[in-house]
Symmetry: C2
Subunit: 141 residues, 2 copies
DNA sequence: GTAATTTCAGACAAGATAGTCTGAATATAT
DNA sequence: ATATATTCAGACTATCTTGTCTGAAATTAC
């Protein structure tokens, strides 16, 4: 697992970020993505397939086929990607791992963690792929 | 894995929290801790041993033996526990999982994630076990 | 000194996540 | 039609995390 997202989720974000930098009408193959991003081919394949069935990507078979964003990058925010791969545990579960404690009788950490969690969610919701891609291109070669 | 800390780390925090609620000079056995917190006995044993070798807990063998905090709970902050179990990855690694990117040419997420990361660290550093235990006792039964 | 109770140490098993492999289905180009 | 390039589907392996088991070493009580 990555630091906060699963490995799969990290790969998904990286891939989508790359797709956003490509011309909107073109398809990008797994082969190319895997090579550029240095992600295991077949592992990436599964992740992309999963994103396709969830409606985030379009897929096209055959030569010149591949994947592309299903919506303009302005309309895709990070949280929808995270949710598609990792689910919503990050929004609900307890940081300390206490089993029976939804927050009805919150401990000291709950509020402070709540603030942080909110910040994360806001960040993920407000950041569209478009924004992120634009800013990323500025700084990463 | 838990949501942000490993399962081990969650258990460690729970155990330490419980130890902080016990009289300072008494020892608490693994058996008792495992039962009260509903944590697998031998798994907890390893975690406590690990915390003992790292100097966070004292241990005592034989009947009436067990574990106790090595320092008054005011002097133990959460981050030292997290560091002992999970290491410092949370402080250093990239959220997106990009390999070669320590932040020298940061992407758009880096700064925002940086803010959040700082908030987490501040929270973990400022919250002593004593504080947390006190406030926890108020709200949990 | 013997029995009981505990931590300590390390091997082992189970489960989850990550990654690999093979082949079928589909689309394109010649 | 045939060859080629791709996604699609699913079984399989590897690795890491979590959890279990067994027995030794230490301490206390009698
Ligand atoms: S109140 Fe504390 S223990 Fe309960 S869910 Fe919130 S952070 Fe976890
Ligand atoms: S700049 Fe972006 S990609 Fe690089 S370490 Fe920071 S968050 Fe990760």
């Amino acid at each position: 697992m990555g630091i906060i997202f699963s490995r799969q989720c990290e790969y998904a974000l990286q891939a989508i970020l790359h797709l956003a930098s490509q011309p909107r009408d073109s398809m990008t193959s797994i082969r190319e993505l895997a090579a550029k991003l240095d992600i295991p081919y077949h592992f990436l394949a599964k992740i992309l397939q999963s994103l396709a069935t969830k409606g985030i990507l379009n897929s096209q078979r055959g030569p010149a086929g591949g994947f592309a964003l299903s919506k303009p990058p302005e309309e895709i925010n990070l949280i929808s990607v995270v949710e598609a791969i990792d689910g919503l545990a990050i929004s609900n579960q307890c940081v300390l791992g206490f089993p029976e404690c939804g927050g009805s009788n919150p401990c000291a950490l709950h509020h402070q963690w709540g603030d942080i969690r909110e910040a994360v969610q806001k960040m993920l919701m407000n950041k569209s792929i478009a924004k992120l891609s634009r800013e990323t291109r500025l700084s990463r070669t």
